[in-house]
Amino acid sequence: MKVKIDYEKCYKSGECYYNHPELFRMGDEGYPVVLVDQISDDATRRHAEEAIEVCPAVAITLED
């Protein structure tokens, strides 16, 4: 399972990397970078789901 970011929708609010630093970091010019390649444990998955919920741009998705 992977976290995907739609960089067209993303407006660099920063909510994902400030709330979930274990999963995202701030990259160039404020866009998020996903730190975990494959999500295998429940804790990380919960972080991803929370990030999806708080993203104001609706730019994050989980894909198999």
Binding site: Y11, K12, S13, G14, E15, Y17, Y18, N19, M26, E29, G30, Y31, V54, P56
Partner: protein
């Protein structure tokens, strides 16, 4: 270096305690930026950053700059440093902070906020109706300090019939924080009355929670347990101060700048009310409600040829960074049409797709103001409603003592103490 430059570079830290600094800190801010981008204030035992990108850097780097009040190596009783009792900001950069913040943060943005806009509208209208026939208004007491507190009170789910009492307590409380003396005693009494009033509600809603914000706070769990009644009161107090008082002062500052700083641009705003959002943004840059944020270093920070030691207190002068001539053209000019400032809604990251820098007035990053969207909407709605209700707004007095604050360095909020305006009816 010329003699003038030498005297400008020579900064006496006691100047930070002067009346002149509270009234007009900008000349000192400029001297800091130009001559002391990293200033070691030995008198107050702290370090000062004042340039835009240095402040941005400190905000972004939570690992190195911690917001926590406590010292990891010292005895610290939670809540002991705050008049209002324990609150979320004391948790620094921890998981507790993140979780407490998330209990309420969602209430102030997106759909939840949109749902509240008609209520903000209605409250603004009710407040305006009270003075509309007078032909004049003292904007601070009769307008700006009325709207946000009624909105917060509504969000908390307090009974509407008690709102006037609540506003009165709030005004006494805020005056007590700011101006000391008798005000302080009345403020403390108002705080106690308010706590007595809210105490049974906290107990009731802990048992039978509703959809309101107070209920949400009452039942929120941290590590499997709820907050204590005292912690909940601290949380409510923070919402009143951070969500009420700041927006109150933002609205007063916006009108001050339109009436006194740029009366020539008031006509533009009268023609196009959408510009109130620009007035808000430019006010948050030019002279924001909050000028200072505090951090503690968790490691040595090398910067501009200095080394800030580990565990040093650092003050970030947002008000100075916002006037950085390295970032903004003619930074000392208030201009609602400014094209080198991101004018739209703020971001927690401080990075924008239009490539322009934003104001620093909400902070950036981990501790970015969670009420940012609400403050902007509330200010714009209240100002627009007032403007629609009147014609030919003008200052009642030609002279005004200006914007000031009780103490910038203790986090004092900047605003005019009084602001009289005359107007005609449509």
């Amino acid at each position: 270096m010329s003699a003038t430059a030498e005297s400008l570079a020579d900064l006496d830290p006691r100047e930070f305690d002067s009346e002149a600094f509270q009234q007009d800190p900008f000349p000192i801010y400029k001297r800091l930026r130009d001559y002391h981008p990293v200033y070691h204030d030995r008198f107050h035992n702290r370090w000062i950053l004042s340039r835009y990108w240095d402040i941005d850097g400190a905000f972004q780097d939570n690992e190195s700059f911690d917001r926590a009040v406590y010292k990891p190596d010292g005895p610290y009783e939670f809540g002991s440093r705050h008049v209002f009792g324990p609150n979320i900001l004391e948790y620094g950069n921890s998981n507790e902070h993140r979780r407490l913040r998330n209990i309420v943060a969602g209430q102030f943005v997106g759909q939840k906020l949109t749902d509240f806009l008609p209520m903000i509208d209605q409250i603004s209208q009710e407040v305006i109706d009270r003075f509309i026939d007078d032909g004049e208004v003292e904007l601070v007491t009769q307008f700006s300090s009325q709207v946000p507190i009624r909105v917060i009170s509504n969000m908390l789910g307090l009974p509407r019939e008690d709102e006037d009492t609540f506003v009165e307590w709030y005004q006494l409380l805020i005056a007590g924080l700011g101006f000391g003396g008798d005000h302080m005693a009345r403020g403390i009494k108002a705080r106690n009355d308010m706590w007595d009033y809210i105490d049974p509600m906290i107990r009731e809603r802990s048992k039978n929670p509703g959809e309101d914000l107070l209920s949400r706070i009452c039942v929120a769990e941290l590590d499997g347990s709820r907050m204590s009644v005292e912690e909940i009161k601290g949380f409510v107090a923070l919402l009143l101060a951070a969500g009420g008082d700041t927006t109150d002062k933002a609205i007063a500052n916006m009108w001050y700048h339109m009436l006194y700083t740029r009366p020539d641009q008031l006509s533009d705003v009268l023609e196009n009310p959408a510009l109130w959002e620009n007035v808000f943004t430019e006010m948050m840059r030019y002279d924001p409600v909050v000028h200072a944020q505090f951090r503690h270093t968790t490691r040595e920070i090398p910067l501009h040829g200095h080394v800030i030691p580990e565990r040093a207190g650092v003050i970030l002068y947002l008000g100075a960074g916002n006037r950085d001539e390295r970032v903004f053209k003619d930074p000392d000019t208030f201009d609602v049409h400014r094209d080198d400032l991101h004018m739209g809604r703020e971001n927690r990251s401080g990075r924008y797709k239009d490539g322009k820098p934003g104001h620093l007035g909400f902070g950036i990053g981990q501790h970015f103001c969670m009420g940012y969207a609400m403050a902007r909407q509330e200010s714009a709605i209240a100002c627009t409603r007032l403007m629609e209700a009147i014609r030919n707004p003008r200052p009642k007095f030609a002279e005004h003592p200006g914007i000031s604050s009780p103490s910038i360095d203790s986090g004092g909020f900047r605003s005019p103490q009084e602001l009289w305006m005359e107007f005609d009816r449509p």
